[in-house]
Symmetry: C2
């Protein structure tokens, strides 16, 4: 897209490779080709495959963190705002560049440390969600159900239908207000 950040373009290219061809085909060659540069050019920006995957995870984590923060902070009601933000962003906003989730798949494959930024995010959210003014177990369940949707979709084991997804979304939102 923009010429400003070729690095982000490369990240998108890598995600596309993973989503279309699987983790085993996330090679430097394939990523470079998808990004329209040579392998040398790719290695200039990301000096190793691990660095590339790290970049994917960090980009995803930063985007996600920012979106949820914005959402929670602009919520007029205090009680349950983090739970609502989590549900809202995951259901409605994160799916636009859903391909970026594939960075997690790659990270899980490459090395265990690569997932650290996401783990940190999660433990942070869990803390906020449990202190959100609603029953913490209920809040946790709402969060887990939300995770269940995107994880099973990322994993490709279960794709929920649009209508059902909307109904689930509405019920979860309802619970986040009680």
């Amino acid at each position: 897209m923009g010429k400003i950040s070729r690095k982000v373009d490369i990240l998108h290219a890598a995600s596309k490779v993973v989503s279309e061809k699987g983790i085993f085909n996330l090679t430097l060659d394939a990523t470079a080709k998808e990004a329209g540069i040579s392998k040398g050019g790719l290695l200039y920006h990301y000096p190793s495959k691990e660095a590339l995957v790290q970049g994917m995870v960090e980009h995803l984590a930063n985007n996600y963190r920012e979106k949820i923060s914005n959402n929670a902070e602009s919520d007029p009601v205090d009680k349950g705002k983090w739970v609502r933000a989590y549900v809202d962003v995951t259901f409605n906003q994160a799916y636009q560049n859903k391909d970026m989730h594939y960075g997690l798949l790659a990270a899980k494959a490459v090395s265990s440390n690569s997932l650290d930024p996401i783990r940190e995010l999660y433990s942070d959210w869990q803390y906020k969600i449990e202190d959100d003014g609603i029953d913490p177990i209920k809040a946790t369940i709402i969060r887990l159900a939300t995770d269940g949707i995107w994880l099973s979709e990322l994993f490709d084991i279960y794709h929920i239908e649009k209508d059902k997804k909307k109904a689930v979304y509405e019920k979860l939102r309802e619970w986040a207000n009680e």
Copy 2:
């Protein structure tokens, strides 16, 4: 363990490799070594890497299907029995040979078709859960939350604490009775 089924031993060995060393190190050599046989011997039982992974997924799917069926059929109360069976088995029984879940990770990496047995299971359960005598959306949420736990654990992005897990379990069971 038993000498009866070397094939199952091999499957366990492969799962162990994935869980300990990651998907990229699931090689025929590593699996053979872990199983205590040679590569040639391994290839006798599973003629290709894809066949090995296929074996892992099928084994997991069969075990899971059987456990849930037994659980549901022995439930004295009809209403909500499939939802309860799903929650019960996933929380309390599937975690004994949790390592087998790593077959899914391997399958996702190797080829898209390898996951078919699990997809079939899932669509089957979804059907039963929606026709279980309780509100289908609520039933779906219970199921999604259950998935959220094991998927995020498998993915290694969020590990729920024991106490919290128990509390979640009890609340989900409670909802499955309403």
